[in-house]
Every structure is written in C-alpha cells, then in structure tokens.
C-alpha cells in the first residue's frame, strides 16, 4: 500500500488539533499511519470522547442503592427493580442524520439505541421519542416531521418494540435544526447482565450482522487523500436501516447470552469497528488483534481506513470463549445470520489491525479509549440573558376573550393531541402497555409475571432553558418526576440527551454548563441517579443555535396496578382540586409565545423543595386511592390541563365538562389561567374524599385548592364572579385532536 505522509493539513482535516496530534506522537512514539490517524480522530471526536463535556458531566450524581451498572461504564446503565429484575435504559440523539434524511436518519437512530440496550443483556420492551421541529406551517418542517415519524414507525414497528410515549415541540428555534432523540428501555434478570469486555487471551472475536460498506465515513476532504476515486463517488453519508436484520441480531444475541459461551458483547455504533474493538479491549484490560480481510464487505476495494471507520448499521462484536465457537456459530446459523471470526483477544494491551497480512494499526487500546483529551471550555453569560429576564410583562395586555385564547392554545401543535404521531407507532406489541399513549402524563407498561409496572416519560422545555438554563434544567427533571408521580410511580433514574449549539462559543457553553448544573442539583435533591445519556453539540445554523434542550428521560416504578393513575376525569360530580400553588406569572409560557408573540420574561418562581412536597402529596393520595385522576400543569397552564382532563375522560357519547369557580383571586387573571408555574397537579376525587385531600395538603405543607366539579358538555371558568371561559367540550376536543392532521393535509 502506498504510504501517506501525515501533513498538518491532514491532521486538521481529521478534526485534531496540533496539541492532540502531539499527544498521539507521544503515545505511539512515532508517526501514525493514515489508518491510525483515522482511528484516533474518530475515537477522540466529540461524539465518542465527550472531550468538551465530560468535565461537567461528572457533576451528575450517578450512584444509588439500586444502581447496578453506573453511567459511563458501559453502553447503558442498569437499575435494580426487585424480584431479581433490572432495567436498562438510555436516550440518544440522531439530530444531524435526521436533518439530512429524516426517514433513514430517525430509523437508524432507533436501531442504534436498541442495540445499546440489548448489548447489556436486556430485552428491549419500550421505545420513546422526543422530537423538536420548526413551525409546523413551514413546508420543510412538514416534510421533516412526516419523515421522522415514518422512520421511527418503520424501524420500531418492524422490530416489534412498542413506542409507548414521547413528546413533540414546534418552535422556530428548531427551524433547520430538528432534534430527534430516541429512548429505549430493556428488562433483564440480574444474572443476565452482559458487559462490553474483551477478556481472556485467545478468546475469539466475532463480527456479527450486516456487511460493511462505506457508510457514514466522516469528513470529505481528507478522504480524498487516501480513498480511491471509487470510494469518493460511492461514499454515502446516509445509512439505510435494516430493522429485520436487527431483529435477528437481537434474538440471536439474547439467545447467545443464555449460554456461557460469551465473554462480552458490544454494538458497532459510532466509529464502528474501531470503537467496539478498542473499547472492549480497554475495558477488559486486554489487547485485541483483528484481520480486516475477514470482515464481510458490501463494497469492493475498501481500504483498511474505510473498513475501520465505516458506520454501517446492524453490526455487533461478540467475544466468545475459546472452545465455545461452535455453540455460538450454531445459534447464528439458526437465525440465518452470517458471523465471521475476525480476530482474538491478546494480552499485550495493544489494538492490532491487519490487512492483507500487513499490520496497519498498532495502538495501546487504553490510550485511545481512555486517554482522550479533556477540555474545560470557557463560558460567558450571553447578552440576551439579563435583558429577557427583565422584560416588563405588566405591559402585556390581558385579552378580553379567553375563550379564543383557550381554543388557540389547544390547537397549538405543541399542545395539541399527538395521536397523529403515536397511532403510526405500534404502541401495544409485547402486550405490556397498561396505559396507552395520550391517556396519562407518562407511559405505563406492566412487568409480566410480577405485580409491578414501569412508568416512563421524556421532558424538556427548551424555552425555559433558554430563559434560564439552570432553572430550566431543574424544571426538566422536576416535570419528568411529576409526570412519573402522576401515574402512581416512584422515580428510579434518568437518562439525559443534551442538545446544544456549538460548544466552542462561550455563550453556548454557558448554557450547557448551567443546564448540567441544574439537572445535577435537581437529581441530587430528588435523590434520582443519572444512569447515562448523550451529548449533541453543533445544533446550529447560520441563523443561530437551538434553544438549549436537555431532554430528560425518566423511568419510575409502580408497585402494583391499583396505583396506576391516568389524566382523564372519570365521573360527573367528582370534585377537582389543584395540588400546588395557584398563582403564576406568564413569563416563558406558551401563552405568551403564541398569543403575544413574546419569548421572554422571568420564569415563574420555582422551588424544588415545594416540588418534592407536591409530588409526595400526590403520590400519597394515589396510594390511599383517594384520587381518580392526576394531570400535571405544563404548557398552556391550568386551563389547558383541566380541558385535557375533560377531553381525555370523555367517551364517544358522554362529554365531561367542568364548572370551576375561583374567588378572591388577586393579580393577573391570564397568569392564573395560562401561566406555567411548576409544581402543580390537577386531580379529581369523589366528593367524600375532599377532607382527605385537604388533610394531605396540610400534612405535606402544600396548598390544595378546590377548583370545582366535573360536569357535562361545557368547560366553564368563573373568576372573581366573572365568567371568563364558557366553551362546549366538543369544540375544544375538535381543536385539540384535529389540528396537527389539519395542518399536514
């Protein structure tokens, strides 16, 4: 092979700084080959090494009595849920691929997150997706939204894992930079935990799954240095997902793990073969030797550089005990999968790669996997921050027609019902979905053969994080926990997906740092560990960065099905209460944005201690069976939450309404109605339970206010003796349920 001289230009094109290159020279004690440079460049990329974020991510609390595998140690964390069972869950971004090709980008995102979970030995049983797009009336947004939803549906439905929940926001900040974050949860027995380790000298390294092509090999210019003309023209930045292949991989791997033939297993995700070989070797304190000639290839004349860096989907690396190869090959054969032994575990701590008999890589595995550079980026408070906070909202005129405001908010695509989305997803396969999408603040799945159920949600309001990254980060955790609690669950842990702009910009990094601290402090306060996550930077275009969007995926445990609680009102005559403070300002609200076109104002006051008390109070009432429904107040505030509970509780014939009367209200009416103060839950209960609610409020030291009563057909709000809202439920339901479809057709 022709030898390529590494020039500063090539180094730069590989995204490595001169200092980083110097570090490489020290590690190797010589110049790297072009292939080795490629290996370092992908392993030390932001995506694999978290070099710009790791310092701050260490602030997260990662331990707890139930944590079995900690964040960062493996592909995903694991939490004990009793009965000898555990859960593994994780969220990941696929923003950039989805922007280029929404269908395949989203589909391969699902494929990737599922692999992360089953490599842990867990059977994936639930998916969620957290999506953000620009304004839905933009044709390009429609195309992206449609493509992403179809892509998720394509992959998730085919592989047979239900998509049980998620969220969708539409805001101009995501115009041109859609966010596609996908979450997967798996269940496993304690004894089935599998680690991504290459251990035991002489053990075999197997390559399993799809063939390798020139997919997703990074960069463009440097590639021409080595790649042949053929590769240039045949290179594809878009990967096509093959959910059928992944289904076979999933079943074969889980079957494999029931034997004692497997030492370790790791998916080939970002940085493909490179990452999986050096990470498994590094974790196992071993070396690894592979021969690229045995790697099944889809295209001709691939170079070692290309084979190592390819990001072709649906591939796994399996470390097999010496002597057990046949047992393993039989299982692959059963599933019609092609497996190929590509190398073995060694004891010299070196990752060695051979191609046509020649050694093309010789690097200490630990050095690439663990000695990645670590930076403390500088940060600076953005200019907008104090200005927006100080915005005088008293100047905002209160509308005189609140009926119209309510209808506009219900029809706001961010607030509107998402059945257009979740009905395209198989959300019932595996027959565990005890609370279907749309029925409660979080999805609930049962755990077969136990009394327990799991609750899960994703949450983040990017606008809050823009206006106040620290509080916004805290609120993301608090809201997720509140959603979990509203279904009758106790939070177990979170996974986070941190979507930000360019971290080299000090103002962006300031947002990042403060969001991380907010999340971290909230988690510590709640006692909820972070079990893993993902960072996605560079979500920006010439018009600017997206609002800081640290999406929280949270999982909770419900002790038994008696506690499962949904959001819809249940019966005429039931009384409606608010647990939590009733006063709110309108800063940062969807109301302010939609009705007054203002993005700003100070966020309503947030007190994490109050939040915790509100949640404890709600959970206690659920466990006493004192309340029949619980729904948290989020976008759209109190009135929207109540309207949703009416609509969700209504059947085809009977429409539930409300009659709400509030007296002695001071301050802005629109704040009470549409403000988005946190720590508020709307519940309903039989009239005879009223005392129990008031008592619980006193006990937990939280305000509990009787709002009114469940009626029929009409949503009616009277404030200080004046009827401010009077609307047929039917009309509200039509606006809320139909708007997304109307906008797309």
């Amino acid at each position: 092979m022709e030898k390529i001289v590494i020039t500063p230009q090539i180094v730069e094109e590989h995204g490595l700084t001169p200092e980083e290159y110097g570090h490489i020279l020290t590690i190797l004690n010589r110049e790297p080959t072009i292939t080795e440079l490629g290996v370092f460049s992908v392993m030390w990329s932001e995506h694999c090494s978290y070099k710009n974020s790791r310092f701050w991510l260490k602030k997260f609390p990662t331990t707890g009595p139930a944590v079995m595998v900690k964040a960062g140690d493996e592909n995903a964390g694991i939490i004990d849920i009793g009965d000898g069972l555990a859960v593994s869950f994780k969220i990941e971004s696929h923003n950039h691929p989805s922007a280029v090709e929404p269908f395949q980008g989203a589909a391969t995102g699902i494929g990737g997150i599922i692999r992360d979970i089953f490599t842990m030995g867990a059977r994936p049983v639930a998916l969620m997706n957290s999506l953000r797009f620009g304004k839905l009336n933009e044709p390009n947004v429609k195309r992206l939204f449609d493509g992403v939803v179809r892509g998720i549906a394509h992959y998730g439905n085919c592989i047979g894992i239900p998509t049980v929940g998620g969220e969708v926001y539409f805001d101009p900040t995501y115009q041109g930079n859609p966010l596609v974050n996908v979450f997967c949860l798996g269940i496993l027995k304690h004894e089935d935990i599998t680690l991504g380790r290459a251990e035991g000298v002489g053990n075999s390294v197997y390559y399993l799954g799809a063939t390798t092509g020139r997919d997703g090999i990074h960069g463009a210019t440097f590639a021409s240095v080595e790649l042949t003309e053929e590769s240039e023209e045949r290179k594809s930045s878009v990967q096509v997902g093959d959910p059928f292949m992944e289904k076979l991989l999933l079943e074969a791997c889980l079957e494999l793990l029931q034997t004692d033939a497997v030492v370790g297993i790791q998916d080939m995700g970002a940085a493909g073969l490179t990452c999986s070989t050096c990470e498994t070797a590094s974790r196992g304190n071993s070396g690894i030797k592979i021969e690229l000639d045995y790697v099944p290839q889809r295209e001709t004349h691939m170079t070692p550089y290309e084979i190592l860096l390819s990001e072709s989907q649906e591939r796994m690396l399996v470390i097999v005990k010496k002597g057990k190869e046949q047992e393993v090959e039989d299982i692959f054969e059963k599933w019609d999968l092609h497996a190929s032994k590509i190398g073995e575990v060694t004891d010299d701590g070196i990752m060695r790669v051979f191609f046509k008999g020649e050694q093309v890589v010789e690097i200490p595995a630990k050095a690439i996997a663990e000695d990645a550079p670590l930076y403390q980026r500088s940060y600076k408070e953005p200019a907008y921050y104090k200005k927006l906070k100080a915005l005088d909202l008293d100047a905002v005129k209160e509308p005189n027609d609140y009926n119209t405001v309510l209808q506009k908010l219900l029809a706001d695509p961010t607030i509107a019902d998402k059945h257009w989305v979740y009905e395209q997803y198989d959300h019932m396969v595996i027959t565990n979905t005890a609370v279907l999408p749309g029925k409660a603040d979080a999805a609930v799945i049962r755990l077969k053969e136990t009394d327990k159920l799991l609750s899960m949600t994703t949450d983040c309001n990017g606008r809050y994080c823009y206006l106040d990254p620290y509080i916004g980060g805290m609120i993301a955790v608090a809201e997720a926990a509140r959603n979990i609690v509203c279904t009758g669950a106790v939070p177990l842990g979170i996974t986070d997906c941190l979507n930000f702009g360019n971290p080299m910009k000090e103002e962006i990094f300031w947002q990042f740092k403060n969001c991380v601290l907010g999340i971290s402090d909230a988690c510590k306060s709640f006692g909820i560990p972070v079990t893993g996550g993902n960072v996605s930077f560079y979500n920006e275009n010439p018009d600017g960065a997206v609002d800081p969007t640290p999406v929280i995926g949270m999982v909770g445990l419900i002790q038994n099905s008696d506690y499962v609680t949904t959001a819809g009102f249940k019966q005429i005559g039931d009384e409606i209460f608010l647990i939590g403070p009733i006063q709110s300002n309108i800063g940062g609200s969807e109301y302010l944005s939609i009705i007054h076109s203002i993005k700003g104002g100070a966020l309503p006051e947030f007190d994490v201690e109050l939040e915790k008390r509100v949640q404890s109070c709600c959970l206690e009432l659920i466990r006493q069976r004192s309340i029949k429904s619980a729904h948290d107040c989020s976008e759209g505030g109190l009135v929207v939450a109540v309207a949703e509970s009416c609509i969700l509780g209504s059947g085809q014939k009977l429409k539930l309404g409300v009659s709400i009367v509030l007296e002695n209200i001071s301050g802005r009416i629109d704040g009470i109605l549409f403000g988005e103060r946190q720590s508020r839950i709307v519940v309903s209960a039989a009239p005879k339970m009223a005392d129990a609610l008031i008592k619980a409020g006193k006990k937990h030291n939280v305000p509990v206010t009787r709002l009114g009563v469940v009626t029929q057909e009409t949503i009616s709000w009277t404030v200080n003796g004046k009827k401010v809202i009077d609307q047929p439920v039917k009309e509200s339901a039509q606006n809320w349920k139909g708007e997304i479809e109307r906008m797309l057709s």
Binding site: A153, K247, L248, Y422, Y425, D426, M428, I430
Partner: protein, 234 residues
C-alpha cells in the same frame, strides 16, 4: 387443547400469542420454529403477527416459503384449525390458503389503535361462541390491511359466508367512516370455505387481559377451545 405458535424470522407477536394463550386459554402451548416440519401434535396452529422477513418485497411473501408452510398447508387441508393474525393473515393470503391479497392502507400510513369489529358469521370454530352481529373492541396495527379481491372472488366469499369480521362503528354499523385502511367491504377477517382457517388483521391476543383495557380478544380464543371440545365429543 394443544396450541402451536409458529415463529418466523421477524415474527414479533409470537410471544404475545403464546403468553395470552398460556395465561388465559390453555396451558398447552408451544412455539414452532419455522424450519420445523412436524405439526401433527397440535390442535390449532397460530400464525402470529409481526414483520416476517421484514415484510420485504410484500408482506408475508417470503415467509410463505419457510419450510413449515408446506406442512401448515397440509395440516389445514386435513381440516386442522389455523388462525393467522395480521402478518399471519398476510402469510395465509400469500400461500393461497385464503383468497385475495393485501394492499397498502389507503392512508399510506401504519395505523395502531383500537377499532370495533362486527362478527358477521358464527359458523366458524373461531366465532361459534360469539353472537352474530356481536361487536368486539380489538386493536389493529398494520401498514397493509387493505384487503383486496376481485369481483368474482368477492361473490364467492359472500356466497360461502367466508367474511367473518368487518370493521364497524361502536354500534355495529359498517360504514366508510369506520374503515381504517380502505379494505374492500370493510373486511377485517375471512375464513376458508370449510371454516377451519381464519385470517384476521386485528390482534385478539392484545386484548385478553383486563389490565390492558379490553378482553374481547379472549372471546375468540375461548370460542376455539369450546368448538374444539364440541368436535372432540361429537
């Protein structure tokens, strides 16, 4: 009564069927690997839903050539009970055990939701314990449930009372507005002439447990066991 649930590569409701049957219908239920060729120990064969072979090319097209299918065909020809659910129904169509074919849903979208079904005939073992006209609430989850058959074929179906389920509204009325996928005559399920083979798009195995919202699916499985009992004693 001994049930066998066939597992094709890409089946994903196999375990759901197994679990629902085991828990609510019969303790005797086994998986049948698609490469298996012995079926005679079973009293009812279930072809489950999912995406056999990824549904690549056409739904059910490749699974139809799995080794097990030759025996399923023989088994059915001998009068054995076969129920194909969703992808299983599509496989039955591709294999020629049931007439017609599936087209893409007219919405061109996958659709997963509860729908209501009207029981058109009770002459099959799968519906014998139901009431004629009985309305069931059962989920669907498919991309290709738009049943098609040519005019002559349709006449045959009607003449032989082979239409078993139709999509309907909550009151049992069959109308365009209650058709979720464009299916001809709102057809949701059909049977063979003899009535021993049923293909249906909705998923009864998803609604056997009260915890999951509806137990109407159980009625179909119970009908199978009751009919079987009767056949045994007859």
């Amino acid at each position: 009564m001994r049930f066998g649930v066939v597992v094709f590569p890409g089946s994903n409701c196999d375990y759901d069927c197994y679990f629902a049957i085991k828990q609510w219908v019969s303790s005797s239920v086994e998986f049948i690997w698609h490469k298996s060729t012995r079926l005679n120990t079973y009293d009812c064969i279930v072809l489950p839903g999912g995406f056999s072979y990824g549904d690549y090319l056409r739904t059910g097209a490749i699974a139809r050539f799995s080794p097990v299918m030759d025996n399923v065909i023989k088994y059915a020809e001998n009068g054995g009970l076969v129920i194909g659910i969703c992808n299983g129904f599509q496989i039955l169509l591709e294999s020629g055990l049931l007439p017609g074919a599936m087209l893409r849903n007219t919405s061109l979208r996958f659709v997963c939701k509860y729908i209501t079904l009207r029981t058109v005939t009770t002459r099959t073992p799968f519906t014998a314990s139901l009431k004629k006209g009985e309305v069931l609430s059962v989920p669907i989850a498919h991309n290709e449930g738009n049943y098609y058959i040519d005019e002559k074929g349709l006449e045959e179906l009607q003449k032989n009372s082979q239409i078993v389920f139709q999509y309907c509204d909550a009151d049992g009325a069959v109308s365009d507005s209650s058709n979720p996928n464009g299916s001809l005559l709102n057809i949701a399920g059909i049977c063979s002439k003899r009535g021993n083979i049923l293909g249906m798009m909705p998923h009864p195995e998803r609604c056997c447990d009260p915890l999951l919202g509806s137990i109407d699916g159980l009625k179909i499985f119970q009908s199978i066991t009751e009919s079987f009992k009767k056949m045994q004693t007859a």
